[in-house]
Amino acid sequence: MSETTTPRSKPAPPAPVADSTKPLADEPKGRTGAARILASRDAITIYALLAFLIYAAVAIPRFASPVTTGFLLLDVIPVLLIAMPMTLIIITGEIDLSVASTAGLTSALMGVLWAGGMDIWLVLVICLLAGTAAGMFNGFLIAVLGLPSLAVTIGTLALFRGLALVVIGDNAVANFPRALTAFFTSKLGATGIPTVMIGVVLIMLFFGVLLHFTPFGRGLYAMGYSKEAATFVGINVARSKFWLYVGSGVVSALAGIYWTLRYTSARSDNASGLELAVIAAVLLGGVSIFGGKGTIPGVIAGVLLIGTLNYALRLGRVSDVVLITVTGLLLIASVVAPSIGSAIREWRHTRRVRRQFSQNSA
């Protein structure tokens, strides 16, 4: 089966040693255009999502209904939001583990300020500013001081969560304006799509356009492959990184606000563990943890795939123990399978080149 898809006698990516003497025009071309898009790594995630949706709609009673759309989307919105800046950050080869703590800090702040009698719109603005500040702090340490993002954000993960505890303690604030909390769970007519999805879609569009259609976005891929090379071709690596973390902080604050109003509860432990859910979904969506690879549509499909799987299993009353095991296996499969694939290809390629060499010399 697999042989038929690679009928070329020569290796697809030109091997640097064996083929460097031949003119480039003789080389077989890589897949281009529609075929390339249809077979890309994130297209696979989208197929998997569609396949699972069809399966769930057929096999799970009551799954195919607008109610599912509503509950499912409400569940995935925080992940979906934070996954956007996270995709960009991971594409540059960095990471941000502090996102969930930033959301928790925002939630705590929101509770305290609102309980203190501040106007709700002012509270929201201050929360966004707090998220921005958290992102700037990360950005400063990582981009300006050049510290490794993993170490910095592990630190701020604990720091921001600690600050959230300092701000609100063990209390929970719940008496947010009814109209506002109702808005955050309201649906667009009979479609079941949450109203807030409009805002989420705008944010997804923003990050999608930023990554795929601007020089800034293309620069992020370059940074992911090699920071030195990116600097060499004129990309301001430090500035790009700084703004990515600021963006991550702002979006995390939005997620924190959403979380607080959706659950009508401001607590210091809100959104705990969310960073791992986000990173898992981003990786499932085809973003390489080594950087340089990944797309926004793929990530959206990845987030929705995990969300749908969770929801479907819950609707089927499958225990959470099974659920986390399944999502874990899925993640490993999605990361390992392409690596195994490329390892096999590499091995075959080397063998073919060796054979060619021995024929030529004979």
Partner: protein
């Protein structure tokens, strides 16, 4: 760096897709098979009940749920499920409530991790036709029909004074070994005990000589028990209204000269206290039976579904072998007096 190569062949790209769907399909079919028949409602005898505890895999929760399962069967539910988060976080229960709403369960019995965070989701469940029973830990009263509460604080206090009075023969010095000095429930119980000792003529010869705090720390409780007996040589009894304190005190008494001479009672776990009851250190102690909580919750759910009660004050329903229960102010149903454990019945309990 070969693992970081761009993919090139279509054939191999299908591998993750196949693996993905296969894994998902496998998990789903395997698990659906064992999960009974979810969502098959409609006819009256097809009612379903779902328990959502604070978290799964917790020993106390397991006992509560075993009572719930027994109650659901006896009350006549077609099927009962237990779903819930692995972590007791405030918002983790919401997606379970949502899924249950959609699965069309008739009764949701929930121990809320956060009374308000679950409120919106419970509201949606109610508008979809489900009845909401809170148990163990109340949800906001606006979003549930009834709350099943363990016991009344006063009853917990009075049963302990009654037990100690019986065990010391109605006269002598007693002491209290509590948890922390600012524990709300402990202090409420102690307040009721003191009132009872002061006002009840039967207890006029009993004198409360000391209140000490073991901070629910095993070692500290042990040392405090030791200190109590040294400081008060005429002490005839100790009340420890905390499971940690009573176990530590019992351990000290059982190895000391006071064994069998100084009475000990309070609130304890049968599994922890069993050896001390068997060796004669402790004769009787009390605690509510967590299983009864789940049991009564199931019957309350049944009564709500059948429209026998609405959760209004004064409504009554029958909770199987536990007899009639009345809905009190604020939609609260009290499970009943605490259970008293002694060497005759302690082997019937496992928690």
């Amino acid at each position: 760096m070969m693992f970081n190569r761009k993919n090139t062949g279509l054939g191999r790209r299908t591998v993750p897709l196949v693996a993905l769907t296969a894994a998902a399909a496998l998990a789903l079919t395997a698990c659906n098979g064992g999960a009974g028949t979810p969502g098959e409602t409609g006819a009256v005898e097809e009612q379903t009940i779902t328990f959502i505890p604070k978290q799964l895999n917790n020993p106390y929760t397991d006992v509560v749920l075993s009572g719930g399962k027994k109650g659901s069967e006896e009350a006549g539910f077609a099927s009962s499920q237990v779903v819930g988060p692995l972590e007791a976080s405030a918002s983790s229960q919401v997606s379970f409530i949502n899924a249950e709403t959609q699965a069309g369960t008739d009764v949701i019995v929930i121990a809320a991790n956060d009374p308000d965070a679950v409120c919106t989701a419970l509201g949606e469940a109610r508008s979809a036709g489900a009845k909401i029973v809170a148990f163990d830990s109340d949800a906001n009263p606006d979003c549930r029909d009834v709350f099943i509460s363990q016991v009344v604080a006063k009853e917990v206090a009075l049963i302990q004074t009654k037990l100690i009075a019986e065990q010391i023969g109605g006269s002598g010095e007693i002491a209290i070994l509590s948890a922390t000095a600012n524990a709300t429930n402990q202090n409420e119980w102690i307040k009721f005990m003191e009132e009872d000792l002061a006002s009840n003529p039967d207890y006029k010869d009993i004198k409360l000589v000391a209140k000490v705090y073991g901070d629910d720390d095993d070692t500290k409780s042990f040392q405090e028990a030791q200190g109590l007996l040294q400081a008060h040589p005429n002490l005839k009894g100790i009340i420890s209204p905390t499971t940690v304190g009573i176990a530590a005190t019992a351990r000290y008494l059982s190895t000391s000269a006071y064994k069998g001479k100084v009475a000990l009672t309070g609130l304890g776990l049968p599994n922890e206290m069993r050896p001390f009851v068997k060796d004669g250190t402790v004769t009787e102690f009390a605690l509510w039976d967590p299983a009864q909580l789940g049991y009564v919750a199931a019957f309350a759910g049944k009564a709500l579904v059948e429209g026998k009660i609405t959760g209004a004050e004064g409504d009554t329903f029958t909770a199987g072998e536990l007899g009639d229960r009345t809905v009190e102010e604020g939609g609260v149903v009290i499970v009943g007096p605490p259970t008293v454990f002694n060497k005759d019945n302690i082997d019937q309990y496992d928690f």
